[in-house]
């Protein structure tokens, strides 16, 4: 009864605040769309210089997929390399192929090298047969966005729920309405539960829309079931919600809440698998397993990329729910500051 009243009130407030509602739904959609365009754009066409390539080789190779410039000597090629007219050039010294790269942009380096290697396979000493590649998960079509996507989806849900729940709880404190709530017979766990349910409903709608958009409009890879995806996102948003409310008790105003973003939210991105976790220095790697996003990202990737089901993700979901329960208990303890019983 009291929880329901609080839930209804929160929903009314959110529906009335059109801008926040817009931010919850359209901001993630906008950012995900931009990322989609950035990561899934056309492949880079390397600009390659060839210096005194033997005719035999030049005729026998396919020089497509790159902008080719021919040079008569290495000095001209080097000049163009300095002027960034070309990304790299291939020359022969003592009969061996040597590659020079401009080198300041890793993406260009990679693309240039890859092009040279695949084009000049036959001038290497032991030309390999073309290898047949089989994918356990994913495919050769899988873009970077498909790999980052699940993490980003989780991140945006986490980010926006964290901020909105935290800020609205701060408002409750600074306007004195929290004190007023506690001067009624409402119990502390009822307040926390009302918040969780109210915002839970909002995030359920929000994440359905965002997930459906990324999968069906942006065409993100989706091998598993949409239901499991929602289940993971919902568990994650409970965590974000309870953590947001908890953190808000350490902030005195909205601005101080925003200050927690670089401390609490952003670091999670680095440990959630956006970057390879095995390359993180040992003295930092313990951070990953204590951040909620780490588990959510893993579970989301299991469902979206690997097509796994309940047996592979239940552990992560329980960990997320465990986080939520822990934060809820801490919230109830934090509320003791306002009323002992």
């Amino acid at each position: 009864m009291r929880i329901k009243a609080l839930t209804v009130r929160i929903l009314r407030q959110i529906v009335r605040d059109k801008r926040t509602l817009g931010m919850l739904i359209f901001a993630p959609i906008l950012v995900l769309t931009m990322l989609h365009l950035v990561f899934n754009g056309d492949n880079y066409v390397p600009k390659v210089g060839l210096v005194e390539i033997p005719d035999a080789i030049e005729k026998s190779t396919d020089l497509g997929d790159a902008e080719i410039t021919n040079y008569d000597n290495g000095t001209d090629a080097e000049k163009d390399l300095i002027a960034q007219e070309i990304d790299g050039y291939l020359t022969f010294s003592d009969g061996k192929p040597v590659i020079y790269l401009e080198g300041s942009d890793p993406t260009k380096n990679g693309e240039t090298l890859r092009w040279m290697q695949s084009t000049f396979v036959n001038i290497q000493k032991s030309p390999l047969e073309e290898l047949e590649v089989n994918y356990l998960h994913g495919s050769s079509e899988m873009g970077q966005f498909d790999y980052f996507g699940p993490v980003l989806l989780g991140f945006f849900v986490f980010f926006f729920v964290f901020i909105i729940a935290g800020v609205s709880f701060i408002r409750e404190r600074t306007t004195g309405t929290l004190e007023r709530l506690l001067s009624t017979p409402m119990r502390k766990w009822e307040i926390v539960s009302g918040y969780v349910i109210g915002f839970g409903i909002v995030t359920m709608i929000q994440s359905t829309i965002i997930a459906a958009y990324t999968i069906y409009v942006l065409d993100m890879m989706m091998e598993g079931s949409f239901f499991y995806l929602l289940l993971i996102i919902l568990s994650l948003s409970f965590t974000a919600l309870t953590l947001g409310i908890l953190i808000s008790s350490f902030a005195n105003n909205e601005l101080q809440m925003i200050q927690f973003i670089p401390v609490i939210v952003v670091p999670q991105v680095f440990f959630s698998g956006l970057f390879n976790l095995e390359t993180i220095s040992n003295w930092l790697s313990w951070i990953g397993p204590i951040t909620p996003l780490y588990y959510a990202a893993e579970a989301l990737r299991d469902v979206m990329v690997r097509g796994f089901g309940w047996n592979e993700i239940y552990l992560e979901i329980f960990v997320l729910l465990g986080f939520s329960i822990l934060f809820m208990i801490l919230n109830i303890i934090a509320l003791r500051k306002y009323r002992k019983i």
Partner: protein, 243 residues
């Protein structure tokens, strides 16, 4: 009529080394309007917060309606109005009232009835569907009072209910208090306005965390041979006066 409604026994409150309440002893009787008078920082708010269950004493104990505070079922019988208005400005007055009345377990027709009654009492019936954001300061104050009255509390605790309110409106609010008082509601009201103090049945004068005198306005004036409460306050408080 003379049962004890609120009993404060040897109550001291400390925040760190700062002593906010010093050994307060006080009995408030059922059906009276009791005023706590004193300058800001005297400890009035801390004391009424303890009586409404929002704070606990460092030592000593508060008994309200026969039970030691804080106690949830007693909180249910108290109406508390804080110094700040504590309203949801993005909701309408009606939605605020619906929300708070549900917290007290009022629903359906009973809820609608009570909402109508309290809004009539504070003279806001015509503005019930407006967003609180569009309310004036005085209207917010009265809505806040209306919310405290929703569940027909036996004890009403009001922290500076008329601060920043013009005399006409203040009279209206006091008329509402008298109406409730006639029906038997005990009212505790804090104030630092001396002329408001005259309207109470009994007064407690507070200064720097101590209760320096208790009595009816007339008694307090007679005791000190003063013509006003303000003078009486100065006599009880010694020569030092600060506000």
């Amino acid at each position: 009529m003379n049962n004890i409604c609120v009993s404060v026994k040897n109550v001291t409150k400390q925040f760190g080394k700062h002593v906010v309440l010093k050994d307060i002893n006080l009995d408030i009787l059922e059906g009276e309007i009791f005023g706590l008078l004193g300058p800001s920082g005297a400890g009035k708010t801390t004391l009424v917060k303890e009586l409404s269950g929002l704070d606990t004493p460092t030592s000593g104990e508060n008994t309200v309606l026969g039970q030691k505070m804080p106690m949830l079922n007693v909180i249910n019988r108290i109406g508390y109005m804080a110094q700040s208005d504590a309203l949801y400005e993005d909701l309408s007055a009606k939605e605020n009232l619906q929300f708070f009345s549900s917290l007290y377990g009022l629903k359906g027709i009973k809820q609608q009835e009570r909402i109508r009654e309290v809004m009539k009492l504070v003279d806001l019936t015509d503005h019930i569907n407006k967003l609180v954001f569009n309310y004036s300061g005085g209207m917010k104050r009265r809505l806040s009072l209306a919310i405290a009255l929703l569940h027909e509390p036996e004890l009403l605790i009001l922290d500076e209910p008329t601060v920043g309110i013009d005399p006409v409106l203040r009279k209206k609010i006091w008329d509402a208090f008298y109406q409730l008082n006639e029906k038997g509601t005990t009212i505790i009201v804090t104030t630092h306005v001396m002329d408001e103090a005259e309207k109470c049945d009994r007064l407690g004068l507070m200064r720097e965390g101590s209760l320096i005198a208790i009595g009816t306005p007339t008694e307090l004036k007679q005791d000190t041979h003063s013509s006003s409460i303000e003078e009486a306050f100065l006599v009880y408080g010694g020569e030092v006066n600060e506000d």
